[in-house]
């Protein structure tokens, strides 16, 4: 039970999220990114009906640990099982600059929701274009055999 379960995921994280923190959104649909263009598609950042966009606070975590969080805290909890393709990394500052708020709930640990989305879908789409443009695509090395 060493490794993942032994790792301190950061219980002592401050509740308030710094603009300089890195956030990750885990992607389990091929349609949310383009491997050939090396980009995350804007639709990956559109929130569901409750207007809570699920992200994880991944600042200062080793790359391997971030993948483990995605696998154990998100993908493995899904029914039916899913393929874990990639993640989108971006700075909290991007969401904050677009008048969104990031609310940490630690359920599961390091989880947060991006809230404060406009009612109009067209405005939400515009925001997602900005986040997508400033995010980095990371392909899951277990899926794509990359050197990340």
């Amino acid at each position: 039970m060493k490794g993942f379960f032994h790792f301190n995921f950061g219980v002592n994280l401050p509740n308030e999220i710094s603009p300089r923190e890195n956030l990750s959104r885990f992607l389990i649909s091929k349609k949310q990114f383009s491997k050939t263009k090396n980009l995350v598609k804007p639709s990956a950042f559109l929130p569901p009906k409750n207007l809570h966009l699920s992200v994880f606070r991944t600042e200062n975590l080793p790359n391997k640990t971030i993948w483990e969080i995605g696998l154990h805290k998100v993908v493995n909890r899904m029914n039916p099982p899913r393929t874990f393709y990639a993640r989108a990394d971006f700075l909290a500052a991007i969401a904050i600059s677009l008048q969104l708020q990031i609310v940490s709930d630690n359920k599961p640990i390091r989880h947060a929701n991006i809230v404060g989305w406009p009612e109009e879908k067209s405005k939400r789409k515009e925001i997602t274009l900005e986040i997508a443009a400033d995010s980095n695509l990371k392909l899951n090395p277990l899926k794509y055999q990359t050197n990340q």
Binding site: I28, K41, S43, E130, A132
Partner: protein, 166 residues
């Protein structure tokens, strides 16, 4: 009259062709039947290039026809959006580069054009003749809704022209 020449050695597959041995959800089966009706309409014609986007739409149908396809509570791909998306592509002038297709958490299909890191235009195909769009042109941004009747709305065409003009 429009005619299409296809070389005899070219393996052409209609974008409306579905292999029957694929597993399908109930929604997918409904969409399949709707598309079969489309394909019997002899007034439609399409180029080989179009087939790529129809294949993408078919992929979306397979991947996103059940709720929660994204693992975050997304709605299943909407039948209305799917048929409207086909109509949108048929109405798109052939001079416009084909977009990439995706599905959004509300079940609507979106067409996205990527010209560069901050040069993106996206159109969501809603139910009942409404399209929702947003664009990023370097530091300029646009968003809005348009009625989609028989033709692609002028605002959409203007924004696509803007995207590809420089």
């Amino acid at each position: 009259m429009t005619t299409t020449c296809i070389p005899s050695n070219y393996h052409y597959q209609s974008p409306f062709f579905f292999s029957s041995d694929r597993g399908m959800s109930e929604t997918a089966a409904v969409l399949h039947r709707a598309l079969e009706r489309f394909s019997r309409d002899g007034s439609m014609s399409f180029t080989n290039d179009d087939s790529e986007i129809f294949e993408e739409l078919e992929d979306l149908l397979e991947e996103c026809s059940s709720a929660n396809w994204d693992g975050y509570g997304a709605e299943a791909l909407s039948l209305d959006s799917y048929t409207e998306a086909i109509r949108f592509i048929m109405a798109l002038p052939k001079t416009i580069p084909l977009p990439e297709a995706t599905v959004e958490p509300d079940g609507e299909i979106a067409f996205e054009w990527f010209k560069g890191p901050r040069r993106i235009f996206s159109v969501s195909i809603g139910n009942r003749n409404v399209v929702t769009y947003a664009g990023l042109f370097s530091f300029n941004k646009v968003n809005g809704e348009e009625y989609f009747g028989d033709e692609i709305p002028k605002t959409i065409m203007d924004n696509l022209e803007r995207l590809f003009s420089f």
